[in-house]
Subunit: 420 residues, 2 copies
């Protein structure tokens, strides 16, 4: 365990991923621990966007759908993301938002469930799941005559039974950072005859995921967190090849048609994952997403997702242990479990009062974490650009703010909208 700042500097010096920090534009004098909300800007993105705008759009105009292969971009970016989550080529596309993609896969999953296990009428998820997943699931359940059942902490396994149609879980919890055992829960759900949808919003690019090894059925995920795709970047959707061709998804737009440019009046879904496309893809945002995904793929030279995971665990352990040591008795209650297999790439705390103001006081010192209602302080670690020394210094700032009562200054309590 590194206990001094010098130890941390030495760890950073020996860090095999250290060169990757150079791929990012990071604000000076700032420690950014919010890449789990919005990933930092890759250096390549501005230039690539300028090229897409000035040359591909401005000069080549409509011809770029062919000449610049805009039409292939959802699949090309999808293939790159696939490498990060244990999916095969041509099994994953970048498109739409996580919410919209979740609606697509739930529509397909419920259709399959109705066909294969008509007596099973439950969608099971967690109270703590990210709200948009619950909102989309509640709507899809109601429309299709299923019940959305929400489990409390530790209740998932015992809630899996023959009534289960679809298990919908977020792999790493957005608030607590707790990580599920994807393979085990998938197997339990399959044993009960159910399908499993995984939301990888806080997993893709953050922790190793192997969708095929886990034998998952469907997955969705986010482009703007650990994939560094930019604010509101397109999301992604993956469907196990054994399901992809069986049923239509409900958002049957023209980009999912077998031959969109024949302009048939009747819908004929494309084979495979392409049928999970819907409308015309947002090329500017997709081009930026590709640059972001490339920063994660750049780690393949240095050990890939396994190396990212090793460093992530080291950073989060360092943070938690230093908080235990420096902030003891300050009212912070850690929400994130510390066993390696049970946490993602963040550490979160609840505090009975002042959580929002403490986060603001940290931001005023240049340490950017975030607040999650009602009482959570959240700190994310992105091994591509977060250093051990950043973690060390961040805890020093946190401890100083708590010790001094600095956070009680009135300006830190003024609320603004806060966004994931």
């Amino acid at each position: 365990m590194a206990t001094t700042r010098e130890d941390c500097i030495e760890l950073d010096r020996r860090d095999p991923l250290a060169p990757l920090r150079e791929l990012f534009e990071l604000p000076p004098q700032s420690i950014y621990l919010d890449g789990n909300s919005l990933g930092a800007l890759p250096k390549a993105t501005a230039g690539r966007l300028a090229q897409v705008v000035r040359q591909e759009w401005g000069r080549d105009l409509i011809g770029s759908w062919n000449s610049a292969d805009w039409i292939g971009l959802p699949g090309r970016v999808g293939d790159k993301i696939a490498r990060l989550v244990g999916a095969g080529a041509s099994e994953l596309v970048a498109a739409d938002s996580t919410s919209v993609n979740l609606y697509k896969v739930l529509g397909a999953a419920l259709t399959i469930a109705r066909s294969d296990a008509p007596a099973a009428r439950r969608i099971l998820s967690e109270h703590s799941n990210f709200p948009t997943d619950l909102y989309i699931a509640a709507g899809a359940a109601r429309e299709r005559g299923f019940d959305l059942v929400l489990a409390g902490p530790g209740e998932i396994e015992r809630s899996i039974d023959e009534r289960l149609a679809v298990l919908l879980l977020t792999h790493v919890d957005y608030r607590s950072g707790r990580m599920h055992d994807m393979a085990r829960l998938t197997r339990l759900a399959h044993d009960a005859g159910a399908l499993v949808v995984w939301d990888l919003a806080h997993s893709a690019g953050a922790v190793p995921v192997d969708l095929h090894e886990a034998n998952a059925d469907f997955a969705v995920g986010c482009g703007y967190k650990y994939l560094n795709g930019g604010p509101g970047a397109p999301a992604f959707v993956w469907v196990h090849p054994s399901h992809a061709d069986r049923f239509e998804q409900p958002l049957s737009g023209w980009m999912g048609h077998a031959a969109p440019f024949e302009f048939d009046a009747g819908y004929r879904p494309a084979g495979g994952i392409a049928r999970y496309l819907c409308g015309t893809p947002p090329i500017l945002s997709l081009a930026a997403l590709e640059c972001g995904v490339d920063t994660v793929l750049a780690a393949e030279r240095f050990g890939g997702m396994q190396a990212i995971r090793r460093k992530s665990l080291a950073l989060s352990a360092l943070f938690a242990e230093r908080v235990d040591a420096q902030c003891a008795g300050s009212g912070l209650a850690r929400l994130t479990p510390l066993p390696d297999a049970e946490r993602g790439s963040q550490i979160s705390y609840s505090r009975a009062d002042g959580a929002y103001a403490i986060v603001q006081a940290l931001i005023a010192r240049g340490v950017v974490g975030d607040f999650r209602a009602p009482d959570v302080l959240r700190f994310g670690f992105t091994p591509l650009y977060t250093r051990h020394v950043d973690v060390f210094d961040a805890v020093d700032h946190l401890a100083a703010i708590l010790r001094s009562g600095e956070w009680q200054q009135p300006q830190f309590s003024r609320r603004a909208a806060v966004v994931t």
Copy 2:
């Protein structure tokens, strides 16, 4: 009628909209008649995107959701588009794709129809409607126990009866350029107890639209055609205020929640049009869309949509009349009706053979129109940057290609994917 090139140059000299051409980066030596597929690049876009990327994302990171009001962007851009289509402030948002937005409004419209007129079980549209509208409508109809009925040319009015739940029409036909009488058809559908959804993909920014005067119920539209928002730009959705609060739409994502940042497990829809948002908005693409919409709003100083319409009609009439004169006997059959009230901002022809190759031969000469399967040549006019002299020259090229048989050179028949 301008019959000489000099006449056209004189018309351009006196054109009140002429200064607006300076707002665009247009490829040199090219006549771009495909703004109905992908609008040209506004000069402001590259700089604005660089600012969003380098400063708002790169430097201010997550804080820009508040400080740069990213969170307000769908509504801010929506308010600007609203001014172009006769909608009120806070009635329209920019979000998702046209296909996804159509799914939202059909979901809401069918819910309302089921409540208000339970015996009416038909969605009526046209065989000739843009395919994605038909694909989405077919899916929504099947899921919700409605029938999608498609009318042939001239059959819409006689197909409106008490069985009608929702009339779904594209205002200006993507292929023929024929424009519907929005007010009249809306009134006929309302008289039959039905709701009306208008797709404004080829209308917004191209022809005057007044959704309130027409008393329309729902509208969707496209950001990347006449709004110049860039490839795959976000689309828009409008709901009449009397409907907006009545029912949920099916894509109940967190951005449509009354208080997204309270992270409630239960969905409570926002008031008004905000509930038609779903996932996190794609900020880069929305910022580019705002620049595009601004180019159309810039016409307000010079007469606005009425001035755009006057010039559009002059350009398309000039094109059609010169084709009649220069290309007589060449096998081109005009699909676009010529009465002013019946056409949008394009002129289309069918031809028994060679339509694709003729379009390619035109592109080789720098005249960019497009081909629409199976046999259509399509030429769009964007009064913000299309000049009379461009139209004059384009017809000269077309006539020369047809006269000489130049289009029969083998390289012009090689097919690539072609995109709207």
